[in-house]
Every structure is written in structure tokens, then in C-alpha cells.
């Protein structure tokens, strides 16, 4: 079943790629391909449920789509405009840049405050307090990096990037709680136990995301 799904995905992917072959890359084309693929797949699955075999279902789903030439032409136009435009000038890229800078600054602020408190000879559990800023900064950096469109890759969708940010945040937060509670109580096992909860949640989320990702590389 799993294997059959892979085949179907492959078939749909190459059909959609073929449909828009030779058209200049753009974020919009990438999103349209994604949209067409998932909807086509659901249609094939429905036809299969109605009793067709996969080959018939696929053919029927494709031929009942109608005349896509208008859409293809639309994308060609955008692709041509896109090549004239610098990738980094888009609005999302600017938002992502602001996020990236803010994230790094927040992280540095946490780091420097920690250093300051350390050299003030405060107890260790107080020194780890500002690390919460590193947690926030790290999550923000992860989100901003992923929503960024680069020369090689398309931007990730916002929801997904947010989930990645959350998982990075959780993992960093697990370290934060580990050290804070560990130093506060002076017991390593307490550190580990509080570390475990958030780390597993964050790591689980991260694994889930890694295994379900689609290829964002350009020029496939």
C-alpha cells in the first residue's frame, strides 16, 4: 500500500512537472504544482475507491481536469517576469531578514547577560536565567531561515516553518530547564527528568517534520 502510494506520487509529480516543462521557476509555479498534485492525488484515490484500478483512475483524473493551457500560459508569464526580478527583493525575504536579525540579537542578548551574571559571581541557577532569550532567538532564527527564498531553494510554507521553529524552541527550552532546575536543586537527575519532557516533545515534532517534507530545491 505504502509502495503503491509512492508510485502514484511519482506519477503525479512527473505529470505535473511535464505539464509545466520549460517554464521559468517562480514561487507561484511551485505552489500551483503543489496544489495541483495534492488535489489530483485525492481525485485518483476517490476514483480508485469507486472501483477503478490505479492506471484507469489516473488517466480519468487527468483527462477530466479540462484545458490547462490558460494556466500554463499564466505561469510562463510569471516565470519570465521572475527572471528579471532579483530573488531577494520580495516582501517575505525582507520579513525573514528582519526575523533573522532580531533572532540573532535576542540570542546574543541572552548570551551576554549570562556572561555578565557569571562574572558577577552570582549562583549558577541565576546565570542560566537569561538563556530563555537564547531559546526565543533560536526559534525565531529557525523560522526566519526556513521562510526565506534563496537562489537554490523555495521558501517553506509559513505553518510548516512555524512548526520547525516550535520544535527548535522546545529542544532549546529543554536544555534551559535542564540546566536551570539542575543547578537550582544541585541534583543531576532532576535536570535530566525536566530535560526529557520538552526534549522528547521537540525532537518528536522535528522528526515528524523531517519525514514528511517535500523537496524545495529549485530546478528539479
Amino acid at each position: 500500500m505504502k509502495r503503491m502510494n509512492q508510485d502514484l506520487n511519482q506519477k503525479i509529480r512527473s505529470y505535473v512537472d511535464n505539464l509545466f516543462a520549460g517554464i521559468g521557476d517562480s514561487q507561484q509555479l511551485y505552489e500551483l504544482k503543489e496544489e495541483l498534485s495534492i488535489n489530483l492525488k485525492e481525485k485518483v484515490i476517490d476514483y480508485k475507491k469507486a472501483g477503478m484500478n490505479e492506471e484507469e483512475a489516473f488517466k480519468e483524473a487527468v483527462s477530466s481536469m479540462g484545458d490547462l493551457s490558460g494556466l500554463v500560459e499564466d505561469m510562463r508569464q510569471i516565470g519570465q517576469d521572475q527572471t528579471r526580478k532579483e530573488v531577494y527583493s520580495s516582501m517575505t525575504a525582507r520579513v525573514s531578514t528582519v526575523g533573522l536579525i532580531t533572532g540573532i540579537l535576542i540570542g546574543l542578548f541572552g548570551l551576554l547577560t549570562m556572561a555578565m551574571l557569571y562574572f558577577m559571581k552570582l549562583p549558577l541557577e541565576a546565570v542560566t536565567g537569561p538563556a530563555i532569550f537564547i531559546v526565543l532567538g533560536g526559534a525565531l532564527i529557525a523560522y526566519s531561515l526556513l521562510t526565506r527564498e534563496t537562489n537554490k531553494k523555495y521558501a517553506m510554507t509559513k505553518v510548516r516553518a512555524m512548526l520547525y521553529g516550535l520544535s527548535v524552541g522546545l529542544i532549546l527550552f529543554s536544555l534551559f530547564t535542564a540546566f536551570t532546575s539542575g543547578f537550582a536543586t544541585g541534583e543531576i537527575f532532576i535536570g535530566i527528568s525536566s530535560f526529557m519532557v520538552f526534549f522528547l516533545a521537540g525532537f518528536g515534532l522535528l522528526l515528524g517534520l523531517l519525514f514528511t517534507g517535500t523537496d524545495r530545491k529549485k530546478g528539479r
Partner: protein, 121 residues
Amino acid sequence: MASNISTDLIRGHTDTIILNVLQQGDSYGYQIYKTIIALSGNQYELKEATLYTAFRRLEKEGYIASYWGDETQGGRRKYYRITDTGMQRYKQNKQDWHFAKNVLNRLIEGGIQNEENEPGS
């Protein structure tokens, strides 16, 4: 399904049909496609090609907005929702439709009752 001429008649209302689906809740391409078939009582199919072209146009005009779903199994769906201006547009189109429907009905099916204009009188 109905003949080509009658589908042409309906196709002029593609935007309003889509807005009607979306004003009843967010939805994504294939679901909207199925909803329209169901709404027509299996008598009319709006081709996906027409549908996607309409989505792009409606989004550009600000009547609908899109966002990605967070399905993790096998790809994400692109959902559409109606905007406030889209809602106004829908209400306006509905009013226009009621007006046109009445007038067209009179024009196409109405019998002439005024006898003063009869030839030879």
C-alpha cells in the same frame, strides 16, 4: 450532464458559484470541485482547469485569500477563504442574479399581451 451551450451559460457565473461555496466555509480545490457537482445535483461539472484559473483571478482581485493546511500525511492542501470584499461581491452578484433572472424569464418566456401594437390594427 447538460449540453455545451447551457454550460456556457453557467460558466459566466463561475466566480459567484465559487464565492457561494466559500461563504459557507473554507475549502480547497478538489473539495470545492466536488461541492459544486453536489450542489448542482450532479448536473454540472466545473472543470478543475476553470476552477484554478478562477482562484488565481479571485485572489488577485482580493475576493478570496489562500493559506496552506497543516496536513502532515502526503502533502498539504491549499485552502481558500472568502474575504470581506469577497462577501460584499457575493451579495452584489446574488442581487444582480435575482434581477437578471426575473427579467430574462419575462423576456424569454413572456407572452405579448398589448394588442395596440398588433399589425393591421
